[in-house]
């Protein structure tokens, strides 16, 4: 039996890490941590939450080929609203991902 997670997802170039369960989407883990990234439909249809893997493996889930092609998958891209981790991941966040660390205003105590 393969390990069932949870897995560490580390963001480059920020170095921050969130914990992601085997059965939850990478985006869900990010939002649960209080950090923010840009996302859209959360159904694999719009492609807004696309990210790129530097290392590790994901299960892609159901994604529109119009926004995530086979070639893009081969090159490491994934839709964070659908992708589940199969290992610890290192993920490159670009400017378009609009990453924001958890704000102190989120829970100021």
């Amino acid at each position: 039996m393969a390990a069932a997670g949870p897995y560490a997802v580390t963001f480059s170039p920020f170095g921050d890490t969130v914990v992601c369960r085997r059965d939850e989407a990478v985006l869900t883990a990010i939002l649960r941590s209080g950090a923010r990234v840009v996302f859209g439909c959360r159904g694999g249809g719009c492609g807004t939450c696309k990210m790129r893997l530097i290392s590790g493996q994901v299960e892609h889930g159901r994604c529109s080929v119009a926004v995530l092609s086979h070639q893009e998958k081969q090159a490491g891209s994934f839709l964070s609203c659908q992708a589940r981790p199969l290992s610890d991941l290192t993920v490159e966040l670009a400017a378009a991902n609009g990453y924001r660390r958890r704000s102190p205003a989120y829970w100021p105590f």
């Binding site: 959360r42 694999g44 807004t48 529109s64 926004v67």
Partner: protein, 304 residues
């Protein structure tokens, strides 16, 4: 000018997983499943009297396949065929489709496949036609009575708006005008309601949303409760649009297509003499989302 389009008759939307999405459309959105033929399911709201208004077709991507308007009279088909010829719009005559008669099919400058038809099997709504109750008991989910309108994206909105105005004789109820005075978005009507179709800037053929009517504030908030109970992705709302005055919830189906429950009960009734209302782009926030007074990150960028 008489009105010749009775309503937005049907939309065909792509599903990444038809079994999964049908469960959502039937049990969460609460549409009536009227048939399933291979990779396409046919659905409608409980108060719709024709065979279907939504086709859900399994595909490898999300988005819209086509939209269709129903004409008021059979003769309006000839009228529009003449107009398509007059404006040199290439069209195909589709002899028949599932439970539907002849249609004229063409591509609008927005990149959307648009059809006009008149005949579709008249099935009645779910109520009896003699001594009916005002509404049926035992419906599942949000259970909107009917499809209301659609919003699509166009790379050159003025061209698309002009096409719907000139060729199909829709009228503009409201428009969003940039500082140069050019309309970059428009809400278009024939049925006496604020819009049957609207156009905003974006990719050719893009599908922004299809809206289903809800008829009261109570129904709107109940819809929000149901979406949340099922952990659906709500994009915005419950809220209100400045444009149309309608109340709204934007949300996404499991394949990422945006849907809306549109509360036309707060909107106005159109009169043949109604003239277009203008919104300026510096007021796009309250124009679209009246209470938050600013656009969210998804309205102009997220669609399928």
């Amino acid at each position: 000018m008489p009105y010749r389009i009775s309503r937005l008759g049907t939309v065909e939307i792509r599903s990444l997983d038809l079994d999964r999405d049908l469960d959502y459309y039937v049990n969460v959105l609460g549409l009536q499943l009227t048939a399933r033929e291979g990779r396409t399911a046919y659905l409608k709201g409980w108060d719709e009297r024709h065979a279907y208004s939504l086709m859900l077709t399994e595909a490898d991507r999300a988005g819209m396949v086509r939209l269709a308007f129903r004409t008021v009279d059979p003769e309006d088909m000839d009228y529009y065929e003449n107009r398509l010829r007059k404006f040199s719009v290439k069209y195909d005559v589709i002899p028949e489709d599932y439970r539907r008669g002849r249609a004229l099919r063409f591509t609008a400058p927005s990149g959307h496949v648009v059809e006009l038809y008149n005949e579709m099997d008249y099935t009645g709504n779910v109520l009896p036609t003699v001594n009916p109750a005002p509404w049926p008991e035992g419906l599942k989910g949000i259970a909107p009575p009917r499809l209301d309108h659609t919003l699509v994206t166009a790379p050159e909105p003025p061209k698309a708006i002009q096409f719907f105005q000139e060729v199909l004789e829709f009228r503009v109820s409201e428009m969003l005008v940039n500082p140069e005075g050019v309309p970059i978005a428009a809400w278009l009507w024939q049925r006496p309601a604020p819009h049957d179709i609207a156009i905003v800037p974006g990719r050719a053929g893009g599908f922004h949303h299809a809206a289903f009517a809800v008829d009261s504030a109570e129904a709107l908030f109940r819809a929000a409760d149901i979406l949340t109970m099922h952990k659906a992705r709500i994009d915005y709302g419950p809220g209100r649009h400045g444009i149309t005055r309608g109340t709204t919830i934007y949300f996404f189906d499991p394949s990422g297509n945006r849907l809306e429950t549109f509360g036309g009960y707060t909107a106005y009734q159109m009169d043949p003499d109604c003239r277009a209302i203008k919104w300026t782009t510096d007021q796009i926030g309250p124009a679209v989302f009246y209470y938050s007074q600013e656009l969210n990150e998804t309205f102009l960028s997220v669609y399928t």
